[in-house]
Symmetry: C2
Subunit: 203 residues, 2 copies
DNA sequence: AAATTATTTAATCAAATGATTAATTACTGC
DNA sequence: GCAGTAATTAATCATTTGATTAAATAATTT
């Protein structure tokens, strides 16, 4: 039985719809998702969707805000934590990201492709520029290696974490079964910080 | 004036439609693209689209096959080239990839998100597993570092190259203008092989 | 329990959208 | 120049789809 179905038993109608919208939007994207798909997934009448959320677009905005927060919200607290070292931040980010992504593997491709479809509306919601200039992480990085462009470093860190999930549909057939995929992602929890430290320490 | 418009002058109708479909599908994705958008972009009557290509779906398949080839086709010849060293392959892949991606920045997110929407149909078209087991690249890699999982290595290589483009809508606001973005991607042509060699050489 | 409000449903609407048709124009071989 | 084929167009169809409506049911208030 699908996850949403069993959760539905004890959720309010509004929550059921939001949950179902999350499932359907994330799986198919805004353009391929039908409000009827969402209603069916939620086990409710189609009219209820509009009763609670006015429109497909409004419902999508709500789901999208949650997903953006889930995908990027993990970062800020870790990057801004003044009490951890740079190395610890690399480990914390990777550990948190991979754990979250193993639970929500389709999150990155969904968020990134929807941002592509609507950059002006969605991209500015991210406080990315601010974090990148003012975070403890970037400060520590520049102190340690003033010759390394923090942006390249962050791109590599995020890329190593996110890319295997963005490309999962391509990688999965290579790896065979789901278990082996998970196993490799588990390995990366240790490997990614190690590789990032190599970049940090090379002369 | 849009690229398609000026090319349109000397292209056959069929080619105009295919070009326009490429533009519209790549920008909006299958679900968000309207056949009318494509017809307008091509400067032709809507009925002509079906006259030449039968259906939106058929047209999409043709465009998609081209794009998959463009995104992954670069890889095979380089990975299989027995006459180059491992280090040279890293440089060749990166140089080729970044050049191509600077011309087609929205290609990766398009292909990956469409594969997500239709994995069974699209993912198996890639001969990825074969390449990964049998390529000169993997052979050389295993000879040099039998302790490194080639799959992790390839994920990192592809991630470093592709991720900045997959995440371009997010990164762009951080970088400010387009020129600075291009400049950073140019830098990565040298940096990515260097980082990959670090992973290869670490003890 | 009557009245009021909130929730839910079936039926329906109107617009969007992929596709087709029938007629028109352009082209090609003779 | 004409017959026949190919290319193109405007108009239209049939479905799909987001949204609404009016009626029914459930919950809450008084």
């Amino acid at each position: 039985m699908a996850k949403a179905k069993k959760e539905a038993l004890d959720l309010s109608t509004e929550e059921k719809i939001k949950e179902a919208a999350g499932v359907v939007f994330t799986k198919k994207g805004y353009g391929n998702a039908r409000t009827r798909d969402i209603a069916e997934e939620a086990g409710i009448n189609l009219a209820l969707l509009n009763y609670y959320f006015r429109s497909k677009e409004k419902l999508f905005q709500i789901v999208m805000a949650e997903r953006i927060e889930k995908l990027f919200g993990v970062l800020a607290p870790i990057l801004n934590d003044a009490s951890t070292t740079l190395d610890e931040k690399l480990e914390n980010i990777t550990e948190n990201y991979i754990n979250m992504l193993l639970e929500h593997p389709d999150l990155p491709i969904f968020v990134l492709s929807e941002i592509r479809n609507n950059p002006e509306q969605l991209a500015n919601r991210l406080q990315a520029p601010k974090i990148l200039k003012e975070s403890a992480f970037v400060r520590q990085l520049m102190e340690r290696r003033s010759d390394i462009n923090p942006l390249h470093f962050v791109i590599n860190l995020l890329g190593m974490n996110l890319f295997p999930f963005v490309a999962k549909p391509v990688l999965q057939p290579i790896m065979g079964n789901e278990d082996f995929y998970r196993q490799m992602m588990e390995q990366r929890k240790k490997l990614i910080p190690m590789w990032m430290k190599l970049m940090l320490d090379h002369s």
